[in-house]
């Protein structure tokens, strides 16, 4: 309420705040709202007299009759337009916040090595050139191709899964290759004797 004033019964709205005069109990105080500020006086019997007196007085004298309660400024009811505007602003702020968070995560893109480069380095260190050339290189090349294809299709989870699967097939292939080689070597030695 701007400029005007309005009286309210305490038991209707304010009983839960003041803690006194719950519903059904006799009213002991009279409250008046002006410029969104609550004023109160402990004399309900003479409320009209007080109001009349209060109306007639100068604004700076009004607080003499009524006690201004600190911290009880009542927010006036907003119009439909204001409520809609508030909702729209809140919605836009939420969208901006979500977008900001998304951008923060998206901006984590950094220059990184292609998938399989570590595996390649491991294989290069431990395996022979022949094994690297015939088994490791085509395996990693295919994995990288598949990974890039998934990324190009904006399938991040698929790309991650390809990485995991490629890693597993790498170890499987190398393990099998080594075992196979061992058996072949053994067979050659046995047959040559």
């Amino acid at each position: 309420m701007k400029g005007g004033f309005k009286t309210k019964k305490r038991s209707e709205e304010w009983s839960s705040i003041s803690g006194r005069g719950a519903k059904g109990t006799p009213l002991t105080e009279f409250r008046l709202y002006r410029n969104d500020t609550m004023w109160t006086v402990e004399d309900t019997a003479n409320r009209n007299r007080h109001l009349k007196l209060w109306k007639g007085r100068e604004p700076h004298q009004q607080s003499a009759d009524f006690i201004k309660l600190a911290g009880t400024i009542r927010e006036r009811q907003r119009s439909v337009f204001e409520r809609v505007r508030g909702t729209v602003i809140r919605f836009l702020l939420a969208v901006m916040l979500v977008d900001l968070i998304r951008t923060m995560y998206q901006n984590k893109d950094r220059i990184s090595r292609p998938p399989g480069s570590t595996l390649f380095a491991i294989a290069d260190f431990f395996c022979s050139k022949k094994t690297v050339g015939e088994v490791v290189t085509p395996l990693i090349a295919d994995m990288q191709f598949e990974y890039n294809e998934a990324l190009a299709g904006r399938r991040k989870h698929k790309a991650k899964w390809i990485r995991v699967r490629g890693c597993w097939s790498f170890f499987k292939a190398l393990g099998m290759h080594s075992i196979l080689k061992t058996f072949v070597e053994m067979w050659r030695k046995i047959s040559s004797v």
């Binding site: 292609p114 090349a141 295919d142 990288q144 490629g166």
Partner: protein, 116 residues
């Protein structure tokens, strides 16, 4: 890798495992363009595994059944260039012989089974 010479190949009786036969069968469907390892796995319908296909291909290349070459690197595709495989002439002959041998074996088995 350098395949064995024809003389060396002819000295030995060619052997072809089921997986190798399957690889040759798949590769013969695309004789000109060739196929890469993962393509073979996808086409085979889980009969070939990712972990074993490269070992099989490497062994087959060593035997001289398949030829491989690296595809030309393209600017629009990142990563290592893929390795493509195709059946060699020797591989085709071995595959045909193997098929004939298998068919003959099947016929013989049927005949023996019928006689019994």
């Amino acid at each position: 890798m350098k395949p064995k010479s024809i003389k060396q190949q002819e000295e030995k009786i060619p052997s072809l495992s089921r997986k190798e036969a399957l690889v040759l069968d798949l590769l013969l469907n695309k004789p000109s363009t060739g196929m890469y390892g993962l393509e073979l796995v996808n086409v085979s319908g889980s009969r070939l595994k990712r972990g074993t296909v490269y070992v099989t291909l490497s062994r087959m290349e060593e035997k001289g059944y398949v030829e491989s070459w690296q595809e030309e690197p393209r600017p629009d595709i990142a990563g290592l260039p893929r390795r493509l495989y195709r059946v060699s002439g020797y591989g085709q002959r071995v595959y045909r012989l193997c098929q004939q041998a298998r068919a003959a074996w099947r016929m013989r088995t049927l005949k023996v089974g019928g006689a019994l």
